[in-house]
């Protein structure tokens, strides 16, 4: 539902980068989406296909790298099992999310005329 606003932010950032480097167009984008980012990868891909038209990203591919949610004990590093109570049983401290909430534009590839 809000994937449209995410795509809008992506397109704005990519356009700014392309303009800054005098690129003719964007070839590809790579985005990292954590399991707990609140953004759905399929919806994001669909929204991108729809809204990239007539922008410098028209025809660009969007690669989405997914990160699973990983909770660990901040003290002993033990991984907490999915679905378990988010507390380390040995150390009695709350678990910490070490991976899985990313909503990051990692990389842009652009075609720049050689002048």
């Amino acid at each position: 539902m809000h994937e449209y606003s995410i795509v809008q932010a992506l397109l704005e950032r990519a356009t700014a980068e392309a303009q800054g480097r005098g690129a003719s167009y964007v070839v590809s984008l790579r985005v990292r989406l954590g399991e707990l980012s609140g953004v759905d990868a399929d919806l994001l891909a669909k929204a991108f296909d729809t809204f990239r038209e007539r922008s410098v990203c028209d025809g660009a591919t969007l690669a989405i790298v997914r990160s699973p949610a990983v909770y660990r004990c901040p003290r002993c590093g033990e991984r907490i099992e999915r679905g378990a109570i988010l507390r380390c049983t040995s150390c009695a401290v709350p678990a910490r999310l070490v991976e899985g909430d990313e909503l990051v534009l990692e990389r842009i590839e652009m075609e720049v005329p050689d002048v």
Partner: protein
């Protein structure tokens, strides 16, 4: 273009960016947060499903905080109508309304815009009643100091497991409408708390009824203690441990 060596051909330029996609929103949120901190306004992002009892909670809170003379204000977000803002005004909370149209969430820019020109600096509490939705609002930082998620007992016990993104972001979960528990065989606050513990590393919940007043004391104590802590005042921690039921 030279046909021998290809000079003059366009180049493929890769750029490592590694930036949050919502950095624009986050920047505005940080700006809002700085303002709230400087002027000692305790801004709360109140989220929850449609019908979770957000507006009723705020109506009841207006009465509860009247005694210590706190100044409350609200921003009410909704897709259409300003009925929520109207209810809050009738309850004595000056409210701005943001009608989002199709947007399923509030963002930092909307808050920034709404507050422009409004006398928000005089407030002790600014309640931002987000759009009723357990998915999208959690993604957008507004500049709030605390996220409070309202969860009605009528929603069942597995909502937290279904919406981990939202509940993980909560500083406090308010379990509402506990006066209805006698009618709900399959629901108990203990089961809700268990579900929360599986998606929130440090689960904190207060169970209450805005209608009967049960549990409202624990809620106002949490509000006052958290507001005081934000102002840098010396205060004993809010009563009890992670789970409170009762006045």
């Amino acid at each position: 273009m030279c046909e021998t060596c290809g000079c003059g051909d366009p180049k493929l330029v890769p750029v490592d960016v590694h930036e949050r996609i919502l950095e624009g929103n986050d920047r505005t949120a940080r700006h809002n947060r700085r303002h709230f901190e400087e002027d000692r306004v305790f801004a709360i992002n109140l989220m929850g499903s449609p019908g979770s009892g957000k507006t009723a909670l705020l109506e009841a809170t207006a009465g509860a905080l009247r005694t210590p003379g706190r100044r409350l204000g609200a921003i009410s977000g909704d897709l259409a109508t300003d009925r929520d803002a109207e209810r809050l005004r009738r309850a004595g909370i000056p409210s701005l309304s943001i009608t989002t149209g199709q947007a399923c969430h509030l963002d930092a820019e909307m808050i920034h815009e709404a507050l422009h020109g409004a006398p928000w600096k005089e407030l002790d509490y600014l309640f931002i009643e987000n759009v009723g939705n357990l998915v999208c609002p959690a993604v957008y930082d507004l500049g709030q100091r605390a996220n409070v998620v309202a969860l009605s007992v009528t929603e069942g016990v597995d909502k937290p497991l279904k919406y981990p993104v939202m509940f993980r972001k909560a500083d406090l979960v308010v379990v509402t409408k506990i006066d209805l528990l006698p009618h709900l065989e399959d629901v108990s606050v203990a089961e809700i708390e268990d579900a929360l513990a599986r998606v929130m590393p440090s689960p904190k919940l207060i169970a209450l009824s805005a209608r009967t007043g049960e549990g409202m004391g624990a809620w106002t104590r949490w509000l006052e203690a958290t507001a005081d802590a934000g102002r840098g005042n010396d205060v004993a921690s809010a009563s009890g441990g992670p789970h409170e039921v009762g006045p």
